[in-house]
């Protein structure tokens, strides 16, 4: 047996990011607190360069390397670029918040970058072990990030809760993988895909259920959503920003890799399970969100309902359906990062703008950011011409095309319920009297990024063609 050197080129962005990470960690060791800005700038540069490398690595074919455990296809490239750009936004929003709370340390950025690396590995995984490796790299980084504010009781509780539940979910996922391995004799997703038809259905079904459970936990689909509101609420907003945005993109990719790349032969089985998850998430998430007064918790439940829509596209079970889901995941991340960015914008040293009441009268304080908030909320509610509408309509279109008319109807009715709590935030912003007269103290870079983010929601809503086409052709061309 000859040792063949694997082709490293497809994994170049990951290798680059890892090298940059090591460099940043070493540099950070020698930095004093006042020059911590260097870590921040280097992290941003690393992310942008990684995005650029991914872009230059683009291939319309599906390339595999490392004995099939690493896949580079259009979906992977697009999602990696999206993840990097979203995390750039996260870091910019988080900077001042961290400074004000004495958390402006190198750890936030290095852990964040490790998480990005984990997400990129998940997105490109071609093997059960690669999936698990990426997932754990991401999860461990997030546990540590949440716990960084160590003198805060809620943050420690959130970290503990997330860690224990996350560990159980990972264990269950591994258990499911081991069952599939037992029947098919392989960890490689492509090989499993071929072996599914001849495999023992009972054991495979058990394996499938456990795998879906692990995926649903990461996505936060009902009934595996319990951790989300507490973790979103308990984490410092700078970390909530992170966990609420890019990891959902990676979780979508994980779902796609495991269920479609690996277990496409069991589509009839997983479709049924996903339908239940989707309906429960859309209905439950939207109804419970109405009762929230804390905006971080409200956005957590809103995330749950969005996850229901992301799953709906996969339920459709067509290439275009996966494309629609992928588009939804990216759009969700853009909206979510903007939503939590608004919370950071209104927070300042010693004050957290955590409650819907804290948004009262924003229109008197800053008409521009009031408009941005309105765009985010209407976009999340799925009202045109904002971006969120197109995410909903593409997913609904694919569900209808695949014959899941009733699922689409449940989806739109759930979003009507959902519209109510988004409207309530807009009501606070526009219709209520100003309570907190303190002017917004955010620095220029946050204002600028958030404005760009809000404008992206409107501009991409007016011209969503490019993004939709990219997402849908990512699947139709690759296969």
């Amino acid at each position: 047996m000859n040792f063949v050197t694997p082709d490293f080129m497809p994994a170049m962005p990951e290798i680059f990011l890892l090298s940059m990470l090591c460099v940043i960690m070493i540099i950070d060791l020698f930095l004093k607190d006042e020059s911590r800005g260097a870590t921040y700038v280097l992290s941003l540069i690393a992310l942008i360069a990684t995005a650029f490398l991914s872009f230059s690595n683009f291939s319309t074919e599906s390339i595999t390397t490392f004995n099939g455990s690493f896949i580079l296809d259009p979906m992977a490239t697009i999602l990696k670029i999206a993840i990097c750009i979203i995390v750039v936004g996260v870091f910019i929003y988080a900077k001042d918040y961290l400074k004000d709370r004495n958390m402006y340390k190198g750890e936030y950025f290095t852990l964040g970058l490790f998480g990005v690396l984990g997400m990129m590995v998940m997105v490109s995984a071609g093997n059960f072990l690669t999936v698990y490796l990426g997932l754990e790299l991401l999860s461990l980084s997030m546990y540590a990030m949440i716990a960084m504010q160590r003198d805060s009781i809620v943050a420690s509780e959130a970290a503990m809760k997330y860690f224990i539940l996350g560990a159980i979910a990972s264990g269950i996922l591994l258990y499911g993988m081991s069952m599939v391995y037992a029947v098919t004799g392989s960890l490689d997703l492509a090989t499993i895909n071929k072996a599914v038809s001849g495999a023992d259905r009972v054991v495979m079904s058990f394996g499938l259920v456990f795998i879906i459970l692990g995926v649903a936990f990461k996505l936060g689909a009902v009934p595996f959503h319990m951790w989300m509101p507490d973790v979103y609420h308990g984490s410092p907003t700078s970390v909530t920003l992170y966990i609420a945005s890019a990891p959902k993109i990676a979780a979508f990719a994980m779902m796609y890799r495991l269920l479609v790349d690996g277990l496409a032969g069991m589509q009839a089985d997983w479709q049924m399970i996903l339908i239940i998850l989707s309906v429960l998430s859309m209905v439950f998430g939207n109804i419970v969100a109405i009762a929230q007064t804390n905006i971080k918790r409200m956005l957590a439940y809103s995330t749950i309902s969005h996850v229901g829509f992301i799953i709906m596209g996969v339920v459709a079970g067509t290439q275009a359906g996966y494309g629609a889901s992928m588009f939804y995941a990216i759009v969700y991340a853009i909206m979510s990062v903007a939503g939590f960015g608004m919370i950071v914008l209104l927070s300042r040293a010693g004050f957290e703008a955590e409650n819907i009441e804290d948004f009262k009268g924003l229109n008197q304080k800053s008409p521009w950011f009031a408009f941005v908030m309105m765009a985010i909320m209407f976009s999340m509610a799925g009202v045109p011409p904002f971006l969120g509408f197109w995410a909903k309509i593409t997913v609904l279109q694919e569900a209808v095309n695949s014959g899941f008319l009733w699922l689409a109807i449940v989806g739109v009715l759930a979003s009507v319920i959902g519209a109510f709590y988004y409207l309530r935030v807009i009501k606070a912003v526009y219709f209520d009297k100003l309570v907190d007269e303190t002017p917004i103290q955010a620095s220029m870079d946050i204002r600028l990024t958030l404005s760009l983010n809000g404008m992206a929601i409107l501009a991409l809503g007016l011209y969503p063609t490019v993004l939709i086409t990219l997402c849908i052709t990512a699947f139709t061309r690759a296969i």
């Binding site: 009202v383 739109v412 519209a419 526009y430 219709f431």
Partner: protein, 511 residues
């Protein structure tokens, strides 16, 4: 008739971009913002006039067509055009918006620029909805125009505005989401000339559909449009919204947004699901007659002037839906569809006419409210003694609202009642009751508010209308009289399109 300018796009985007400019300069300079807003609305009005003068009335097809691919993955196009049905409604929109801007000139002092900008953006979105030939483009405009209206009622409305505006938004949102599902369903089956899926409304008109599918689609459309019109029993958001809304918003709501519902019936329900419309026409006729009679009685007992006019609007819009759905009953009864044209045209004229009259009625209440800050009938009495010019207009518009011959209110109602006679005597009988009821509630209100001895000291110190108020009332009065005395040009514009529509919906679409 062709000009090189994309005229229709200009009419849509001038107010939207103008509205953004008003927002941009408006934070400090109220006067500049107001002048700019007025200019933008006037420019839009001028731009929309060629749509009328260059319109070829002999053609039933779409004119001023513009087509730009938008979202190619789903074959969604930026496809706009007008025909004889939508063009008058667009002109109504541009005309009423100018009046609304003038009406808000002195009255709105809080965030004036945002107020003006919201109305301009709303104008563009409404015109876009009327002009869309692509169903998804229509849906985008249709939903997007909820946003400015939501903000207008919520910021500048009365004490209970938050309740009213959220109710308004959720009602309309709930009504329209199922329509979206229907559109997506039809996209799956429809093909255009190139054999690919399409959202083009004209292609959807040709799409064969089984009766069951048609009935479900019809019901989803009915929900969307019935909420907007609004028809009994989904009308309850309207009185709330009207009572809390500022005068300008009430005017736009009554004069144009309700017409979107009626327009939807003509553009979507009838031609896309003709067989279901035939099967279920009794339902719409029943709901319309309930609206006309029952809501007429409800209007009679209102103590709040705005609520009274809101209920009167619902009752009058009942005529519109009645006229639209008489077609099959007339064909059954007389054996020819020629009488059906009368019902549809009557409904259309009623929409235009109600646009002017309801705008004028709400403006009249606005004129009083700005002086007394009360909408209650009991707070008034003997206004004619202190405001004679106002009283003249108020009585004139009240007469028009009651359907006095010579005013536009008469034309539409008369045509619909004539059509109803051809269908069934009892339809006509019930519909004609409104001539009595309408006169009763409107004139009784006028009697209590305008005539009689001066009721209290506040009324004694009222000033008559300013030049600004006089001017806008005059414009509306002229419009009401022109349509009332000489409706032929308006009918001529619609005629070809409506004939074509009747011919289309008389043929079954069941494959």
């Amino acid at each position: 008739m062709f000009s090189n300018l994309p005229l229709l796009s200009l009419v849509i985007w001038t107010p939207i971009i103008g509205g953004m400019l008003v927002l941009a300069i408006g934070s400090k300079n109220n006067i500049e913002a107001k002048v700019l807003a007025l200019l933008v609305s006037l420019v839009t009005l001028v731009l929309s006039i060629p749509l009328w003068t260059q319109f070829d009335t002999s053609l039933a097809s779409m004119q001023f067509e513009e087509l730009i691919p938008w979202i190619s993955s789903f074959h969604i196009n930026y496809h706009i055009a007008v025909d004889g049905i939508s063009m008058p409604l667009i002109l109504l929109t541009t005309f009423i918006t100018v009046i609304v801007i003038i009406a808000g000139w002195k009255v709105i002092t809080y965030k004036t620029a945002q107020y003006m900008a919201a109305f301009l953006i709303l104008e563009g979105l409404m015109i876009g909805a009327f002009a869309s030939v692509d169903a998804i483009l229509f849906y985008v405009f249709w939903e997007a125009l909820l946003i400015p209206m939501f903000v207008i009622i919520g910021i500048w409305g009365g004490p209970n505005r938050v309740y009213a505006t959220i109710k308004f938004f959720l009602y309309t949102f709930l009504g329209s989401v199922l329509m979206l599902i229907s559109l997506l369903y039809m996209y799956m089956h429809a093909v255009d000339v190139n054999g690919v899926g399409t959202f083009n409304i004209q292609d959807l008109h040709k799409l064969p559909l089984s009766l069951n599918a048609q009935i479900l689609i019809f019901l989803s459309f009915l929900l969307a449009f019935a909420v907007k019109v609004p028809m009994w029993p989904v009308h309850t958001w309207l009185p709330d919204a009207h009572v809390e809304a500022p005068t300008g918003a009430s005017v736009i709501l009554a004069a144009i947004m309700l017409k979107l519902g009626g327009y939807g019936f003509v553009r979507f329900s009838l031609p896309i699901t003709p067989d279901a419309s035939m099967t279920l026409d009794w339902l719409v006729i029943l709901l319309s007659l309930i609206a006309i009679v029952y809501i007429g009685f409800v209007a009679l007992v209102q103590a709040d002037m705005k609520k009274l006019i809101a209920y009167s609007s619902i009752s009058h819009m009942g005529f519109v839906t009645l006229g639209f759905f008489l077609l099959w009953k007339i064909t059954d009864n007389t054996g020819s569809a020629s009488g059906a044209v009368l019902g549809l045209e009557g409904g259309m004229v009623q929409m235009i006419s109600h646009g002017f009259i309801s705008a004028a009625m709400f403006l009249s209440v606005g004129v009083l409210y700005d002086r007394m800050h009360s909408r209650m009938i009991k707070d008034y009495g003997g206004v004619v003694n202190t405001m004679p010019a106002f009283a003249t207009f108020a009585v004139f518009f009240a007469m028009a609202n009651a359907g006095l011959p010579g005013t536009s209110g008469f034309v539409g109602e008369f045509m619909v009642i004539m059509a109803a006679f051809k269908a069934n005597f009892w339809y006509a009988f019930l519909a004609a009751i409104t001539l009595i009821l309408g006169a009763a509630y409107t004139l009784w209100m006028i009697k209590r508010v305008v005539f009689g001895p001066i009721a209290n000291e506040q009324v004694e110190h009222l000033d008559d209308m300013s030049g600004r108020e006089f001017f806008m009332m005059l414009l509306l009065a002229v419009a009401v009289l022109i349509i009332g005395l000489y409706p032929a040009p308006l009918l001529e514009v619609m005629h070809a399109s409506i004939d074509n529509l009747v011919a289309h919906i008389s043929i079954t679409k069941i494959p």
